[in-house]
Amino acid sequence: MRRILSSITDGKGFDILLVSLTMIFLIVMAGLPLLYNVLMSFQQVDMFNLGTFSRPFIGLENYQDVISQPEFGLVMKNTAIFVFGSIIGQFCFGFALAIFFMAKFPFASTIRGLFLVSWVMPGLVVGALWGFILAGDYGVLNAILQALGVTNGTMFWKSDPNLSIWAVTIANIWLGLAFNMMLLSVGLAGIPGDLYEAAELDGANGWQRFSTITLPMMRATIGAVLALGLIYTLQQFDLFPAITEGGPANSSSVAQYWAWQWSFKLFDFAKGATVSVMMLIFVLIASIVYVWSTRHEVRG
């Protein structure tokens, strides 16, 4: 008895206790809902059986229905544009900013801190702001573009099917920029300065220093940033209802918005679950990349 007690206060028991608390939390808050979601995607769900578990199983019918929707291809294409456009944009601009702020100039770290404002703001607020910026007739961006002489006509960012998905992507790049910059800054700060000094003495130019020191040293950070970016982008939802509502004619609808639309606008909860199970596969791939790229991290 005393051995068990002492092991709980100090020893293996304590470790197990801590781990099991976390595990229970994860299973209850993430695992069960996830399984429930997968289960629901194989069932027929309506308002009568929404509150119970005993629902008719219909096999893969939900999946067939979702795939045969006329907008399915468009939504998948948009999701790809949104995810890759956002990640590439966030990463490139974030990296550039991170390197820029590594340079020593007055107030560098203060200004870098200010960039975090975009990350702190709620998605709906950011969406509303970008809604104003991207508006057609009275939009800020159009006024700027016209003043600069880039375009004469009005660019209907929210109403033109060729622009709408890009409108949301631009807003999302802005939103995720600071997060990318911060993580990459941390990675950059971890590279020992004497490596650069040595390379400089050996006559390496800027590009050579970047490609042979910075990039290889940042491999783990970059992998993590990209994987997290994929996950955050796939769960980015607020911008869609606030800017384009997935329109016009689904031209800016992405999987996560579509899933919400199925569940909470069309009240077909099973199809909503089906779309999110499909998304789960993408997130799973991202998670594997994330775990793999951070496997060398020192653990205490």
Binding site: F48, D137, F156, G247, P248, A249
Partner: protein, 411 residues
């Protein structure tokens, strides 16, 4: 020790109150009412609930305000978990989702025996939206519809004597009044990718001989081509695809559009904001003397079938209906019945506009009723948007919508 004494005393006091209570009056029955009224400003349901409590002793109304976007979801969830309210007020196209599944109480017989509620007094459109399979599942709360607002000053300036009565005249007038170089559009409407888009586009389908089950009409195709042409030529803003009715009408109020398709809920704001002479006319038709149609808006009231006190709930419903004559003077809503005279307000433009909308209400047709309305609606607004952006031809878009509708509507 001290604590337990206090508790004991409190317990005695409560017991005394509990004994004294019932001897004076019976335990009141609580009826919960859910509605969106009172979210921004005082509305009928919240006001009438409060007043009901002041004059009633045996029934107590517990009122809850929900947001427009949440009320259907909340009601679904509450119904599924067995905690539904007794009375709920829903937008008319959402009503059939519940009535078709028996989630609303069949009140046909109760209404027949009621001295207050007279089903025959209601306009046909609103009454249809609370009817399913020949049975009555609720009562219309209030109603609205859409017509064509026009800027009289601009019309005069363009030398047009009468407001357009056909879509052909509508297009001609819009093209004549548009001044792209000054940022003035000829007309505006809402083709937004949500219920608002369907609300404004379905009447076009209906007046060309179609219905929500039969959308690919020649008239609808013509109309889509016409509007697309107007957007392409800058006579109408492309932003009609993302603007809701409120924002779309806002551009009319500020003088940036010469005509606007919108409804009576805008009158109040227009009287205040628009510094020009304006009027309202009926929604145009395809040819003079053709069948008219318009959208039917407004909310309904229904008793949930899970209620434990159907009779008391019906009494509350009767009280709400008995206050219908206050809907317009106090809240600016149009009653859904023909037996209530709207008093003159003394504001000339407002009174003239109301007359037109009351006439228009005769032609208003409900969306549905269909238990899968939300899916039908998405097919319709998706088709409208696809055609207006040129992603598909009107025929392709409407036939795609038709096949989606065929696959979800089963009757």
């Amino acid at each position: 020790m001290k604590f337990s004494k206090v508790k004991l005393l409190a317990g005695v006091a409560f017991a005394a109150m509990a004994i004294a209570g019932p001897s004076v009056a019976q335990e009141p029955v609580t009826i919960t009412v859910w509605s969106i009224d009172g979210a921004n400003q005082a509305g009928p349901s919240d006001t009438f609930s409060k007043e009901f409590n002041e004059q009633s002793t045996d029934i107590k109304v517990e009122y809850r305000t929900l947001k427009f976007d949440e009320i259907v979801n909340e009601t679904l969830r509450a119904y599924a978990t067995g905690s539904a309210p007794d009375i709920v007020s829903l937008d008319n196209p959402d009503f059939a989702l519940f009535s078709s599944r028996g989630a609303f109480l069949d009140i046909t017989d109760m209404v027949k025996n009621s001295d207050v509620i007279n089903a025959d007094a209601y306009f046909e459109g609103p009454l249809n939206s609370v009817t399913w399979d020949g049975k009555l599942y609720g009562v219309p709360k209030y109603t609205d519809t859409i017509g064509l607002f026009y800027n009289k000053d601009m019309l005069e300036e363009a030398g047009i004597a009468e407001p357009p009565q056909t879509w052909e005249e509508f297009e001609a007038a819009a093209r004549k009044m548009a001044k792209p170089d000054q940022g003035i559009y000829g007309a505006t409407l809402s083709a937004r990718g949500n219920e608002e888009g369907t609300f404004q586009f379905l009447p076009v389908i209906q007046m060309s001989g179609g219905s929500y089950k039969d959308v690919n009409t020649e008239g609808a195709r013509e109309w889509l081509s016409m509007v697309k042409g107007m957007i392409d030529d800058g006579v109408m803003s492309q932003d009609v695809l993302s603007l809701g009715q409120f924002d779309s009408t806002g551009t009319f109020n500020s003088g940036n559009a010469a005509m606007a398709i919108s409804g009576p809920w805008e009158i109040e704001r227009m009287v205040k904001d628009a510094d020009f002479d304006w009027g309202v006319t009926l929604l145009p038709t395809f040819k003079e003397g053709d069948e008219r149609s318009s959208a039917l808006g407004g909310f309904n009231l229904g008793i949930m079938s899970t209620t434990k006190h159907p009779e008391e709930a019906f009494k509350v419903l009767e009280y709400f209906v008995s206050q219908d004559d206050r809907l317009f003077p106090e809240f600016g809503y149009l009653p859904a019945r023909g037996d209530i005279e709207l008093p003159e307000t003394g504001v000339e433009k407002k009174d003239a506009a109301l007359k037109v909308f009351q006439e228009q209400l005769k032609y208003a047709k409900p969306r549905g009723p269909s238990p899968v309305w939300q899916k039908v609606s998405k097919a319709i607004f998706d088709a409208e948007q696809a055609a207006l952006t040129g992603q598909m031809t009107p025929d392709e878009a409407l036939s795609q919508a038709q096949s989606t509708i065929d696959s979800v509507v089963q009757d």
